[in-house]
């Protein structure tokens, strides 16, 4: 056992460093407008931000089995807090800053947004996580709306005009790093006995309590962790688009994140990643279909412009019919599971 852990401890530190190095190297290449189209870059960035959102929501909706409908609200808290922070405190323009200074500001904004959103998560979670099922959904839905309406009415952060002129601090590196952090946290959580306790809360609260699991405590912890990560996604979002509006965090946005989690497979981290990428890509890919269908001049008694949104919804319905538990169906995609799949197939071929 000691030898085994020593070997794995070296790996444990190498992995994250390797990922960060890779992102660091890839960053200038991907951000170069001549080599990589800005349109593609935007899709990549939004996919990354959506990965953070869906993987973090999966911790609450998938692992802990609590139905939260307010993820966009926490994202808004993170976005506005960090944007207000960098706008009011950071006075040097970005182009006059060294890479190190920019990184320091970004880290500061990320931490602040995580803390603010995490605190809101605690505030909402403490009373409402004692409720079960639909009640929690309603409370979180209400919270999201309260946040949005509050923002609309605070003039200092733009109110209904939105907040513009945010520094474009977010780069591919930061989106990748936060996404990797979220995925790693989610995986580490599930691998630990604490994660097992969280799953136990989902499966049977009475039995979990009888085994010494503080069910309310675990639900609140998961909720706070999830909201803090959503806040960080909001920070990335604000400093990428450099303009945020209260309506970008409407409850439809929350539903969109839930769709990502469900399409990927509730309770699966890799599923949440997959779901986020698919839901971000799908409307873009379908633009081609839009062009094709518009050219075909299908005679309809009414005017239909955005065919792609019709196809998009049909595809979602189809997916839910074919795979009601989502693409991954609660399972994880890993080297181990792939190897097992191949072995089973080759065994099947032999038999």
């Amino acid at each position: 056992m000691p030898r085994n852990t020593r070997k794995s401890s070296a790996w444990r530190w190498l992995w994250p460093l390797a990922v960060l190095a890779l992102l660091w190297v890839a960053n200038p290449v991907i951000s170069d407008r001549d080599r990589f189209s800005p349109y593609l870059l935007q899709i990549v960035m939004l996919s990354g931000i959506n990965i953070v959102l869906s993987v973090s929501l999966n911790v609450v909706n998938g692992f802990a089995g609590q139905f939260s409908l307010g993820h966009a609200g926490f994202m808004a808290v993170g976005a506005y807090t960090s944007a207000y922070f960098t706008m009011s405190v950071m006075h040097t323009p970005l182009r006059l800053m060294s890479a190190g200074e920019q990184a320091a500001w970004m880290v500061g904004a990320l931490i602040l947004s995580g803390l603010a959103a995490g605190f809101c998560g605690w505030l909402v979670g403490m009373p409402s996580l004692r409720l079960r099922g639909d009640y929690l959904a309603i409370v979180t839905l209400g919270f999201g709306e309260i946040i949005r309406i509050l923002i609309r009415n605070i003039d200092q952060i733009g109110g209904p005009r939105g907040l513009s002129g945010i520094s474009p601090l977010t780069s591919f590196f930061w989106v990748g790093a936060v996404a990797a952090l979220t995925i790693a946290l989610s995986r580490n959580l599930l691998d630990s006995t604490h994660g097992k306790a969280l799953l136990a809360v989902r499966e049977d609260e009475v039995a979990a309590e009888s085994l010494g699991v503080d069910t309310t405590g675990y639900k609140v912890t998961a909720f706070v962790l999830s909201s803090a990560l959503a806040g960080m996604a909001g920070c990335l979002f604000a400093h990428y688009l450099v303009y945020i509006h209260p309506d970008s965090f409407w409850f439809v946005r929350s539903i969109e994140i839930i769709v990502m989690v469900i399409v990927g497979g509730l309770g699966s981290t890799t599923g949440a990643v997959l779901g986020a990428v698919i839901i971000t890509l799908l409307p873009e890919v379908l633009r081609n279909a839009d062009v094709l269908l518009a050219d075909a001049h299908i005679p309809l008694p009414f005017l239909l412009k955005d065919y792609r949104m019709v196809i998009y919804s049909l595809l979602l319905i189809l997916l839910m019919l074919v795979r009601p538990k989502g693409i991954m169906g609660g399972a994880e995609l890993s080297w181990k599971s792939l190897r097992r799949l191949f072995r089973r197939q080759s065994e099947g071929a032999r038999a």
Binding site: D191, S192, G195, A200, V206, A208, S210, G212
Partner: protein, 262 residues
């Protein structure tokens, strides 16, 4: 490590129904005590009072000297009371090993932050807990089911897994709610051996609810009989078996008396 569990004159009312009425019972350190009674006598209510699912309206519940009143169910589990359920409540979608690991989490020495960061301390701790869980599974003859999901286990094994899971919390007192329900005579025999073995190996006090008289009379040292929430009889299996009050509770009043009364 066994402890004394005592209920002192506990009463629990649900509206007009008195589910437990001045119920007093005591499980001595290392004792194996049975709790029987007709359907609806309040046996499971007593379990729920002990484990904090319900709070008694009156009375006191003590584990050694510590009062369990007002504690939440998970705190009572932490204090050293483990239980199983009448209708099996395993975590169906989790593997047998994970079911036991959930219960091990109570003894996890590392907090959530270090688990999230996967520090070597947390990994060592996880490894220790996993070894403990595997050991428990083997001890209860469930070693080969380690990776199976709980719901795919045969019925008798699901009951065993529930006991393994309760044992993983390192209880001082174990409450078993009808462990032999739905078992055939062969499985019941195995279960009796298991309960004796568990008590010996883990040095536990055990309180057992059971309808199968062969089990209760066979392994319990003392028995409490409950009817309409009241303890109507107690003593060794011999005493209880021959107590007219017990026979009346189970079979109704003798015919002659009923005739006279009318």
């Amino acid at each position: 490590m066994s402890a004394t569990l005592s209920l002192r004159e506990c009463t629990k009312r649900f509206g007009g129904v008195v589910a437990a009425k001045n119920a007093s019972l005591r499980v001595g350190a290392g004792e194996l005590v049975g709790l029987i009674g007709p359907n609806g006598a309040g046996k499971t209510t007593i379990f729920n009072l002990i484990t904090g699912v319900y709070q008694p309206d009156e009375g006191q519940i003590l584990l050694d000297e510590q009062s369990l009143l007002g504690l939440k169910p998970h705190e009572i589990a932490g204090a050293g009371v483990g239980r199983t359920f009448q209708n099996i409540r395993l975590f169906k979608d989790l593997s047998a090993l994970d079911n036991v690991l959930v219960a091990c989490h109570l003894h996890s020495e590392t907090g959530l932050p270090s688990s999230l960061l996967r520090t070597s301390r947390s990994l060592n701790d996880e490894h220790k807990l996993k070894m403990k869980a595997v050991h428990l599974l083997h001890l209860l003859g469930l070693g080969k089911f380690e990776r199976e999901t709980a719901s795919s286990l045969p019925y008798g094994e699901q009951r065993r897994l529930e006991i393994a899971r309760a044992l993983a919390t390192d209880p001082q007192v174990l409450l078993l709610d009808e462990p032999a329900a739905g078992m055939n005579p062969h499985e019941t025999g195995q279960l009796m051996d298991l309960i004796r073995q568990v008590r010996r190996d883990f040095q536990l006090s055990i309180l057992l609810i059971e309808h199968d008289m062969k089990v209760v009379m066979g392994i319990c040292e003392r028995i409490y009989v409950l009817d309409y929430g009241e303890v109507i009889s107690q003593g060794t299996p011999e005493v209880v078996r021959n107590d007219p009050k017990v026979i009346e509770a189970y079979l109704g009043e003798p015919l002659t008396q009923a005739g006279e009364g009318a």
